[in-house]
């Protein structure tokens, strides 16, 4: 067996086992939702449906953007290169290792 097939089998088994564990817990657990605290203001105007996909997606990307803007960027022009450098290095090393070990190229 090769690594990609094993990867697929392990991923499928992991998801199946997770679902088998999660479904009974999720059915049994009772979730009580408390009201959002808005300093006494009416909730209608402020309701943010976190189950609504568009809002969730927007919210996640907003936070990612804020994270990159506030914490990662250093005010230098080549920030994006600096951020992606570890992954570039990882990809290049992986490629080098696979080429050298596998005798390809």
């Amino acid at each position: 067996m090769d690594a990609p097939s094993l990867m697929g089998i392990l991923t499928a088994i992991s998801i199946a086992v997770s679902l088998a564990i999660w479904i009974p817990i999720a059915l049994k657990v009772r979730v009580r939702r408390t009201e959002v605290y808005l300093s006494g203001e009416p909730q209608a105007g402020y309701r943010l449906g976190i189950t609504e996909v568009s809002w969730s997606v927007r919210r996640v990307f907003e936070k990612l953007y804020a994270a990159i803007l506030n914490y990662v960027q250093t005010g230098v022009f080549n920030d994006w290169f600096a951020i992606s450098l570890p992954y570039l290095i990882l990809l290049l090393t992986l490629l080098t290792v696979v080429t050298l070990v596998g005798g390809g190229g």
């Binding site: 094993l6 089998i9 679902l19 817990i25 999720a26 408390t34 976190i50 570890p86 290095i89 090393t93």
Partner: protein
């Protein structure tokens, strides 16, 4: 191999040994050991009341949280979604133990270290999603902080693992082979032995520092800082969600320290026999002790300091170790 037999082997290793049951027990025992050790360092008593010398305290904590009748959660937390994500993180970590040769049912193929890295990534992603999944600001900050560190420590972990496995099992890049039958150059070839020691040292330091940030241990416990972000990604969790998140953390730490300790001290190899398993666990607790003592001797750093440290130390060291591994 027969497909049904293969799935049976994977299911056994994933669910029982050395997967879910073994990792949960080892992780919770390690939590007790860690808490006792840190308490000793800080002149405290540590867990004391549940079981002999408080050894059952982490089990009691997690049991209480998992089987609490009702999750009292706010508007902020999608509880069932977080339960699924954390369960998936724990199960993928358990599935990655299929490569650990402490059971006769373990599996090893060429390039399986890449599959191991891929499977253990789910846990990191689960942490980030637990943070981002909440609309409350504190978990979001925890998620942001973890994701930011993840940008640097994940490549460092992957590259140093590749380097060690490349040095111990050249040709196959199999973590199973590196753990069970490491190719250590004999006395006749001192140069190769010196290079191997250099690879293990550089990759070991890189992997240890990255592991501290991956497992959010001091000084990199910024994502769950109580005084700054009210517990970070754990702030809005309670009941089973909190129990599963604690389990995810302990299981991840246990798995990585088990792999790290047995890769760094490659002899005697990790094998299914009782004596070999006991030796592997001895190595595990030795490395865990060093990690905990070093980690808890330091205070928490700021996010920019953590990033600077991670970029300056583990990342270059991991690349150096990989370059050295080609000389073995």
């Amino acid at each position: 191999m027969d497909a049904l037999a293969l799935i049976g082997r994977i299911l056994f290793t994933t669910l029982v040994y050395p997967g879910l049951v073994f990792l949960v027990v080892l992780g919770l025992l390690s939590q007790w050991y860690r808490r006792k050790l840190v308490a000793r360092l800080q002149n405290r008593v540590g867990p004391k009341y549940v079981g002999p010398v408080g050894i059952l305290q982490p089990f009691a904590d997690v049991y209480k949280l998992l089987f609490v009748k009702e999750v009292v959660t706010g508007y902020y937390t999608p509880a069932r979604f977080i339960m699924f994500i954390t369960t998936l993180g724990i199960v993928t970590l358990a599935a990655s133990t299929v490569f650990l040769p402490i059971t006769p049912y373990s599996i090893g193929v060429d390039y399986d270290v890449l599959v191991f890295i891929y499977l253990t990534l789910y846990a990191s992603i689960a942490y980030a999603i637990v943070g981002f999944g909440s609309t409350s600001p504190y978990p979001s900050f925890g998620g942001i902080r973890y994701t930011t560190m993840m940008i640097v420590f994940e490549p460092a972990v992957a590259i140093s693992l590749l380097a060690i496995v490349r040095a111990l099992a050249p040709g196959s890049l199999s973590i199973h082979e590196a753990l069970s039958s490491p190719r250590i150059p004999g006395v006749g070839n001192p140069l190769h032995a010196a290079v191997l020691v250099a690879v293990l040292l550089t990759a070991g330091v890189a992997l240890s520092i990255s592991l501290l940030s991956k497992a959010m241990m001091k000084p990199f416990d910024i994502p769950e800082a109580e005084t700054e972000v009210a517990g970070g990604y754990l702030a809005e969790l309670s009941g089973p969600t909190l129990g599963l998140s604690i389990l995810l953390h302990e299981v991840e730490l246990a798995l990585y320290v088990l792999v790290l300790s047995n890769l760094l001290i490659p002899t005697p190899p990790m094998l299914p026999g009782l004596l070999e398993v006991a030796t592997s666990l001895l190595k595990y607790f030795a490395v865990l002790t060093v990690l905990v003592v070093v980690a808890y001797s330091m205070g928490r750093v700021r996010l920019d300091q953590a990033l600077r440290t991670l970029v300056k130390v583990p990342l270059p060291l991991s690349i150096l170790s990989l370059a050295l591994s080609f000389l073995t």
